[in-house]
């Protein structure tokens, strides 16, 4: 028997190694079994190593991914900054368009309020080069049918008159120019006067108001209208300081212009100043009496 085992020892050994796990499985495998001492020892030996490797590898992966992600974040950041700049520009542009739209709506409302008076919108493209010039340049000119002296207005009130013309551009003399004089009405009392420029862009002066007229501070002055002038009722400014001397026919006052000239983008040019209102049906005899 011993010799037989010795002769087939390899076969027996292999068969035993095959049978043993099968037997173990048959006995213990079908239901959970506690690990034996050897199992636990091997797991105690390998698990920390596995844990360490996983930890180290995880840390390396984290560092690597952190680096890669940081690089990605950098590029992403750059891209986002570009996007923000682009979108901010778009927002600004949209905001600008909205403001322009509002201004144009106001101009349109003003145009409607003027009734049959023909007007033309014009874009302000520049201001006078000299600080003493008190003028604006608009992108309308002879080509558009503008004439010298044509009134220029905005939604806030009177801007000035066309002073000089080129084909596509015109210079507007502001009401604050010392050369400007516009016939005015006190909106409250209907007293007449003249608003002249002072050379100071923030104020005008009121002249030729009768001493007997009641003028109060904060009275609003509007255009008096008349042939070849501004349409009637456009806001000129507000009275601030009244100067009434103890002598003379007239009183004076300072006037704050209704328009902030530094914030003008669009204006309306009145193309045909209102015609003088001629009394209709004058008596024929009276007409003939007027003849030389």
């Amino acid at each position: 028997m011993r010799a037989l085992l010795q002769r087939y020892r390899e076969l027996v050994f292999v068969a035993a190694l095959l049978a043993a796990p099968l037997a173990v499985y048959m006995v213990r495998g079908r239901k959970p079994a506690r690990l034996n001492l050897l199992d636990r020892a091997i797991i105690q030996l390998t698990a920390p190593v596995e844990r360490m490797i996983v930890g180290v590898a995880g840390a390396m992966v984290d560092v690597f991914q952190g680096y890669v992600w940081l690089r990605k974040v950098r590029f992403e950041n750059l891209e986002l900054r570009r996007t923000v700049v682009r979108q901010r520009s778009e927002v600004d542009s949209a905001h600008e368009i909205r403001l322009e739209n509002e201004r144009l709506r106001k101009l349109l409302a003003l145009r409607d309020s003027l009734g049959p008076v023909p007007t033309m919108p014009a874009q302000v493209v520049a201001v006078g080069a000299s600080p003493l010039s008190h003028s604006l340049r608009i992108a309308r000119g002879l080509r558009d049918g503008l004439v010298r002296g044509a009134p220029v207005i905005s939604a806030e009130g009177v801007v000035g008159t066309i002073a000089q013309l080129a084909d596509g551009y015109a210079d507007v003399q502001l009401v604050t120019s010392p050369f400007s004089a516009i016939s005015a009405l006190n909106q409250r009392t209907r007293g007449r006067s003249t608003v002249k420029g002072t050379g100071d862009v923030t104020r005008c002066k009121l002249e030729y108001a009768l001493r007997t007229d009641e003028i109060l501070e904060s009275d609003v002055l509007v255009t008096a209208g008349g042939a070849g002038h501004f349409p009637k009722g456009l806001r000129l400014g507000r009275v601030t300081e009244i100067v009434k001397k103890p002598y003379g026919l007239f009183q004076q006052a300072r006037v704050i212009p209704a328009v902030d000239f530094s914030r003008l983008d669009e204006v309306l040019v009145v193309l045909a100043p209102p015609e003088p209102q001629i009394p209709q049906a004058l008596p024929r005899a009276a007409v003939e009496r007027g003849k030389p």
Binding site: E10, L17, P21, L22, Y25
Partner: protein, 175 residues
């Protein structure tokens, strides 16, 4: 226990650890390189019957410990693989890298078939042990790729312990 056996067991332990850790790190769930199978394969091809069978059983047992399958199944599977390889691959040389990779690829497919059969017998088609041809093929490819490394390590160990020109002829042609 000789130093060689201890070293081979150490290789098995390292292979177990690597096999447990790397698929986890790389998220390999369906397929992975079976390093312990490469050890069993090398032993079946190059070692004496008794020592290689014992070490293969030990490799199966280590695989079992790290895979939480029912006790005995992986050991049995390792032994079955050892027997099949020992019986069919006698005389095959596994010296070169590509050759050992090819042998490991084939052996891995056989191993998968054996595993499928065995698991079907003991537990018909449980979800966690489901075997798919694609996964088996991928595992075989990965095992084939890893086998030259395992073979190289074990060959270096053997070079120190098996005298050149001496000893019993081995199935793989080595002495």
């Amino acid at each position: 226990m000789t130093l060689r056996v201890a070293l081979v067991l150490l290789v098995c332990l390292v292979a177990t650890v690597v096999e447990s850790v790397f698929p986890f790190l790389f998220g390999l769930t369906r397929a992975r390189a079976d390093l312990l199978l490469s050890v069993v394969l090398y032993l079946a091809l190059n070692d004496q019957a008794i020592s290689s069978a014992g070490l293969s059983a030990a490799a199966g047992y280590l695989g079992e410990l790290s895979s939480a399958t029912p006790t005995g199944l992986y050991t049995l599977l390792a032994m079955l693989t050892w027997v099949v390889v020992r019986l069919t691959a006698r005389g095959l040389r596994s010296d070169g890298g590509p050759l050992s990779a090819a042998i490991a690829f084939g052996a891995s497919l056989v191993h998968s078939l054996l595993a499928a059969g065995l698991f079907f017998l003991v537990a018909p088609a449980p979800a966690e042990l489901s075997w798919g041809p694609a996964a088996a093929l991928l595992s075989a490819l990965m095992t084939g790729a890893a086998a030259p490394v395992i073979f190289g390590v074990l060959r270096r160990i053997d070079a120190h312990f098996i005298p050149v020109g001496g000893g019993e002829p081995l199935p793989g042609g080595r002495r």
